[in-house]
């Protein structure tokens, strides 16, 4: 695939089609190997007879502090969740800071403390790190890069590859969608809305570990940048299956829904940082929902759709009155519109 653009655009980082094309045409083109080509959230690698999950992530969020968290907390949640949704038990993290000259140290300390707190909560150890400082203007205040390692049991290896996903399986989400993206966008932009929504960023490994120990899960992924739409589109294309989503079943907070209506956004494209999409056989759904309901971060869980034979490679949203529409993966960030 040839890269069309000459310069990087914001859309290349938004989690949708543009980013996917960039990864394929620039990175995979040169880095290609059988593990990387799977394009899963965590790579499954072997060390002797052990299977390890290995992931990396970078955090460049603006603003650094937002309702519900900060870049430090996010760095742990994001990395831990990438491991957890692959079916692994997160164990060790590396954390590396790139700091702009002039950045206030007291803010850095708050971030470091949040990072440490979240790591304790998740039960992971930060075992190695790095710090670099760049001249003023050479990075936007603070960037954090992480890598995470977890152990993965043989019986969970299928999860990240969606090997066993078939038509008839159901799609479950653990709670309300769109909180993180809306909270952050509102904190960043000058649009002057006041919204009482906090980012949902949280480590999901304990919840996920409980789910996979009590029931058979076929696939999991966390719908971060690009939202639920991005994950479902990737799955439907990877497995050449159709996906039907019931609009009435989507758990969305009233204020997020209102904000989306005001700006012309679709909640399915908004980022989440404390959500996991779970695909499982219909017969397992009740058990999974029961486990999820026992957690604060799972109390709004719901079956939102299913894998179907029709329209392979397409995700379709069905509304209450029988109408339907295709949910595409967005090419760039959503833009507030007047029309």
């Amino acid at each position: 695939m040839k890269q069309k653009e000459k310069y990087i655009l914001l859309g290349h980082g938004s989690g949708g089609k543009m980013m996917h094309d960039l990864i394929e045409s620039v990175f995979l083109k040169h880095f290609s190997n059988s593990i990387l080509n799977e394009e899963t959230d965590s790579a499954i690698i072997s060390s002797g007879s052990d299977q390890l999950a290995f992931t990396t992530d970078s955090f460049v969020i603006d603003p650094l502090f937002f309702p519900g968290g900060n870049i430090g907390k996010l760095a742990v949640c994001g990395t831990v969740n990438d491991l957890a949704v692959s079916g692994a038990e997160p164990l060790y993290l590396s954390v590396s800071f790139i700091i702009e000259e002039g950045f206030p140290i007291d803010e850095l300390e708050v971030i470091a403390e949040s990072l440490a707190d979240e790591a304790t909560k998740a039960g992971v150890n930060i075992v190695t790190g790095d710090t670099k400082v760049v001249n003023k203007g050479k990075c936007d205040k603070l960037f954090i890069n992480t890598a995470g390692i977890g152990s993965i049991r043989k019986e969970n290896l299928h999860i990240s590859k969606a090997q066993d996903v078939i038509p008839g399986d159901v799609i479950i989400i653990n709670g309300m969608i769109g909180d993180h993206g809306m909270a952050v966008m509102n904190a960043r932009e000058s649009f002057n809305f006041k919204i009482m929504v906090e980012s949902d960023c949280t480590s999901l490994n304990h919840l996920i570990s409980n789910v996979i120990s009590k029931s058979k899960v076929k696939f999991m992924r966390d719908p971060t940048r690009g939202g639920v739409a991005a994950v479902l589109n990737e799955l439907s294309m990877k497995k050449r299956v159709g996906i039907d989503i019931e609009e009435a079943a989507l758990p969305i907070r009233n204020s997020v829904r209102a904000m989306c209506e005001l700006l012309g956004f679709d909640p399915l494209h908004v980022a989440n940082e404390g959500k996991v999409l779970i695909v499982a056989a219909e017969s397992c759904a009740a058990d999974i929902l029961q486990v999820l309901s026992g957690y604060e971060t799972g109390k709004d869980c719901a079956i939102i759709g299913r894998i179907v034979n029709d329209h392979p490679g397409r995700v379709v949203l069905r509304n209450q009155t029988g109408g339907s529409r295709i949910i595409d993966s967005l090419s760039g960030d959503q833009l507030p519109r007047i029309c």
């Binding site: 310069y7 000058s190 339907s324 529409r325 295709i326 760039g332 507030p336 519109r337 029309c339």
Partner: protein, 359 residues
């Protein structure tokens, strides 16, 4: 959400749909001329609820889609002037000009900012007195009053580094032009929020001279279906008239304050509508009295000759003559991530909506 959810009520929608199935078997073509209606019709699957004899077509209702290539290219040229901050509604960011887009110019270093309200532009101008802030004024009569209010406020507050590049347009001339061109239309679903500003008399000529019914519609599925029902009733009774469905927001006189502000700041001028060509007295230009805020008059910038993209049939789509699937570029060379014509870029453009919502 109050005044929204009640008009999305499933039972109401289904009962209206049932009524439409039984009321008439005549083949009718109804045109809506509002991007908001285009979006709503597809979002709520209205097509699947209508009987096969009732055809809804989309006309030139998306102000982004109908902004001329020249306007887009001008915006790019302005963005390259050193010391200029471009402020724009999000809709315009990805619209392709002849060779580039605002998004790409931003990547290349231009200061281009997305705003929700034109008053944010004024605020940016106030906070950056050494810069020149140019607001890209797109939109129909719903949005033009806000621009007018901002210009007046800029004068009152002595904010002289604020400018507007106007591409504002008005609806009635283009509706008339389509009818005169002979486009097959049996009735119009008129834009509810434009009409909230203008009042209802702007459509009188369509009914009295051209014999076409006009129903001013809200944007929820129940509104649209009720409006279709009202038009069918008119056609059955052979009684074309201007009616209001959207009573909760639209009254006959419209919003006088908004109209007065528009008349104070803007004057009608001939304007180029992308794909449709020149439509007389269809655009809003800034009056001489406010020329110090008019970007066209205050900046001398070279705009390269605009070129229409080859193979693009946006013009025929905007007239409701063709649908996106008739275009050889649709979904192949022209997609939401890689748009050729503006009908694909704007989220509510006919092609983008079709692409997103067609099963």
């Amino acid at each position: 959400m109050k005044y929204v959810d009640e008009y999305r009520e499933k039972d109401l929608i289904l009962s209206l749909a049932e009524k439409l199935r039984t009321i008439s078997k005549k083949e009718v073509v109804l045109m809506e001329v509002c991007g908001g209606h285009t979006m709503a019709i597809h979002r709520f699957g209205i097509h699947s609820l209508l009987p096969s004899n009732i055809h809804l077509v989309s006309g030139p209702g998306c102000p982004v889609c109908v902004s001329s290539q020249h306007f887009i290219d001008s915006a790019m040229a302005f963005s390259r002037i050193p010391g200029v901050i471009i402020t724009t509604y999000g809709d315009l960011i990805r619209v392709p000009g002849s060779s580039t887009s605002l998004e790409k110019e931003r990547a290349a270093g231009s200061d281009i900012r997305i705003i929700y309200s034109v008053l944010e532009s004024l605020e940016i101008a106030k906070q950056n007195p050494e810069k020149k802030v140019i607001f890209l004024g797109i939109g129909f009569e719903t949005t033009a009053p806000a621009t007018a209010a901002a210009i007046i406020r800029a004068r009152q507050k002595n904010i002289f580094n604020f400018f507007v590049l106007s591409a504002h347009k008005i609806m009635p001339p283009v509706m008339k032009a389509l009818v005169e061109e002979g486009v097959r239309i049996d009735g119009f679903i008129a834009p509810g929020h434009v009409s909230a500003i203008t009042g209802t008399s702007i459509y009188n000529e369509l009914a009295s001279v051209y014999g076409l019914g006009v129903v001013i519609s809200g944007f929820e599925p129940v509104d649209i279906l009720q409006s279709v029902l009202m038009l069918i009733h008119q056609l059955e009774a052979m009684n074309p008239e201007v009616e209001v469905q959207y009573h909760r927001v639209v009254n006959c006189e419209g919003n006088k304050i908004a109209q007065n502000l528009m008349n104070e700041v803007f004057e009608y001028r001939d304007d180029i509508w992308r794909g449709l060509g020149l439509i007389p007295q269809s655009g809003l230009g800034i009056k001489d009295d406010f020329s110090s805020f008019d970007a066209e008059k205050q900046f001398n910038v070279e705009v390269p000759q605009s070129t229409e993209p080859k193979g693009c049939i946006c013009g025929q789509i905007l007239r409701g003559l063709k649908t996106p699937v008739d275009c050889s570029l649709f979904a192949k060379k022209c997609t939401p991530s890689d748009p050729v014509g503006a009908c694909m870029v704007s989220g509510e453009g006919t092609c983008a909506t079709y692409f997103k919502y067609q099963s």
